[in-house]
């Protein structure tokens, strides 16, 4: 919440995790550093094998880093076993205890902490209410549906009021509709409990809709950290732009840099402004990225940044995709929201101008 936005719940400092030894060594995490703020919904996003689950396991204590520190409110927890960390996990498989009731599952953490019976009972009731499972308190976990198990797993992890809640792809086993519901539910729970959530997923849509901030990971490194809008509008690397949403990549030459922005010359000779990733001072040849919906088409070419031929028009109801071939042979996609009205003269095989506006282009680091 906004009153103390800058306090860090978790600080990961130069953490590496190396599996195996000698020739077969694999760095699952390669000197990763990241800070996660208090009360934040933070997402680790990346393809499988990128190291996101490894990082989560290191924070939970199921594994220990080869090097580096993991600070929880300033205290290094990296050497502590999991049962000594005030951090709880929602597992991908839920891992509910099959020999216990729903209520006993939720109360387990508090019981292990040695809380008095009355307090446990009250807290379990509160948790059941929070996840709307009051009616099923005395059921065995095998007698409830997948979505309900998911709620119990959440309640169980939230009951001891952890300082940080870790969620390891918890929605991946649910069907589409339930997943959508749970995304909203998770946001609500995070808001109501005020607990810091660290959420691991490979699903970019999930990450964009739920997160306050996202860290995009690949091959054991964090490539970019930022708000969903930052990540989407201002990807710093080609991998990030490619992994999240659709992208057009263009070769360009830097002609000038000033005030955190660059002017680049496209293959057509047109010069357009482009924003820069933090700390980058580009020179010479660069790649820029333009999101398909950030470019405009015009049937008349004057003032256009690029010229192209319409190869394909794909109508998708809410919007239309124009697949274009540029003069230099590159492929370019423009997405336009549909509205009712007269045609604009753009037809398959026709020549069109592409306008890349003042804030549409972003220079990439690689």
């Amino acid at each position: 919440m906004p009153d103390k936005p800058d306090r860090n719940a978790i600080e990961v400092v130069n953490v590496s995790k190396i599996f195996g030894s000698g020739e077969g060594q694999v760095a699952a995490l390669d000197t990763v550093s990241v800070s996660i703020r208090e009360n934040e919904f933070f997402t680790l996003l990346g393809p499988s094998g990128c190291g996101k689950t490894t990082l989560l396991r290191l924070i939970a204590g199921f594994d220990f880093p080869t090097a580096g520190e993991i600070l929880l409110y300033g205290q290094d927890i990296a050497p502590l076993p999991p049962f000594k960390r005030p951090v709880n996990t929602v597992f991908q498989s839920y891992a509910l205890f099959p020999h216990m009731t729903v209520a006993d599952n939720i109360g387990f953490g508090l019981e292990m902490l040695g809380k008095p019976k009355a307090e446990i009972k009250a807290r379990v009731t509160e948790m059941l209410k929070l996840v709307q499972m009051e009616a099923l308190a005395s059921r065995r976990t095998s007698q409830i549906s997948g979505g309900q198990q998911q709620r119990v797993a959440l309640a169980r992890a939230l009951a001891p009021q952890p300082k940080v809640l870790l969620l390891d792809e918890p929605l991946s086993a649910l069907d589409y509709k339930l997943r959508k519901e749970m995304q909203i539910e998770l946001k609500r729970l995070q808001h109501e409990t005020g607990i810091t959530f660290i959420f691991v997923t490979h699903d970019q849509e999930e990450a964009l809709t739920m997160s306050d901030r996202i860290a995009v990971m690949s091959s054991g490194k964090i490539l970019q950290v930022g708000s969903p809008r930052d990540i989407y509008d201002r990807p710093s690397e080609r991998f990030v732009a490619d992994f999240i949403g659709e992208s057009n990549f263009l070769k360009a030459d830097v002609v000038g840099v000033s005030g955190g922005r660059a002017t680049v010359r496209l293959s057509s000779g047109a010069e357009i402004p482009a924003s820069l990733p933090e700390g980058l001072v580009p020179k010479g040849k660069v790649t820029i990225v333009v999101r398909p919906e950030h470019a405009q088409l015009s049937a008349a070419s004057p003032g256009a940044s690029l010229l192209g031929t319409v190869e394909n028009i794909v109508y998708l109801g809410t919007d239309t995709h124009f697949h274009l071939r540029l003069a230099d042979g590159e492929h370019f996609i423009v997405r336009r929201q549909n509205s009712r009205g007269a045609g604009d003269g753009i037809v398959q095989g026709g020549k069109v101008g592409i306008l890349i506006g003042g804030d549409a282009a972003q220079v990439l680091k690689d």
């Binding site: 939970a60 199921f62 999991p82 049962f83 709880n88 597992f91 498989s93 509910l96 953490g109």
Partner: protein, 266 residues
């Protein structure tokens, strides 16, 4: 609809199956029938009678041997199950390492080494200890039975552990349970059906053993099977059939119980 392959519809299936069952069960049925024979013969029918059950019941040697079998079986089953549980935990709750397969083999050694070899080895080994300590009680039989029961108790326990989701233990640790409490509250309750199955299997195996017992026992330490073997050498009466019948019922009861326990909670 295309006809799928079914072993039931192969020529001769019924005949082979029926023959197998007859060969398996006919001798047992005959044995059980003659337990109720009024005559003294095990092959000529002399009318229905329960007298051989009565005579076995009044035979103190039979009762002694039975009680001894139960005593040895119960103690050996408990000890072997404890060892088997520890062995199963140690061999499953670890990352595979070189030498693990060798350990499996070592634990299951009694399944592979011929019983007669173990019997002779134990006879020689224990006779030395007997001379050295002067002790000649049931301890030797209990120790021997414990040793060869371990793999039988180990197998169902290990099977249960291998099917157990390791994430459950991780979840318990995540929820502040120390390793010991994780074991007590999560691992052990979930393992319990496997342990009970192992316990009963070990008990039945111990109850049934002849070869090793024959070598290890001292005078007056007959178990029910070795007593029966001794009796047969002196000529058979339907009393043996009666004892066998009771023994059979008992084993069937235990195996049925074992079946239900291992099915439960799955």
């Amino acid at each position: 609809m295309a006809k799928r392959f079914s072993i039931k519809h192969q020529p001769g299936f019924t005949t082979i199956a029926a023959t197998c069952f007859i060969v398996l069960y006919l001798p047992i049925i005959v044995l059980v029938i003659y337990a109720f024979n009024a005559a003294t013969s095990t092959s000529e029918w002399g009318g229905f009678s329960l007298k051989w059950f009565q005579s076995a019941w009044q035979n103190t040697q039979v009762i002694d041997a039975t009680l001894r079998s139960f005593q040895i079986g119960a103690i050996a089953a408990i000890f072997s199950t404890i060892f088997a549980t520890m062995a199963a935990l140690a061999t499953t709750r670890t990352a595979p390492y070189p030498g693990l397969t060798f350990k499996y083999a070592a634990i299951n050694q009694p399944l592979m080494v011929p019983e007669i070899v173990t019997g002779v080895a134990l006879l020689i080994f224990f006779s030395r200890i007997k001379i050295f300590t002067g002790y000649s009680g049931l301890g030797y039989l209990i120790a021997a039975h414990t040793a060869f029961c371990v793999p039988f108790a180990y197998l169902p326990i290990r099977a249960r552990l291998e099917n157990m989701d390791l994430t459950l233990e991780r979840a318990a640790a995540d929820l502040y349970a120390t390793p010991w409490r994780t074991f007590r509250r999560i691992t052990l309750p979930l393992l319990w059906p496997g342990i009970l199955a192992g316990l009963m299997l070990a008990f039945v195996i111990s109850l049934d053993d002849v070869v090793i017992t024959e070598f290890v026992k001292s005078g007056g330490q007959d178990t029910l099977p070795t007593y029966m073997l001794g009796q047969i050498r002196r000529g058979i009466t339907p009393e043996i059939n009666a004892i066998s019948t009771v023994f059979l019922l008992l084993s069937v009861a235990i195996v049925t119980l074992f079946f239900f326990i291992s099915r439960k909670r799955d």
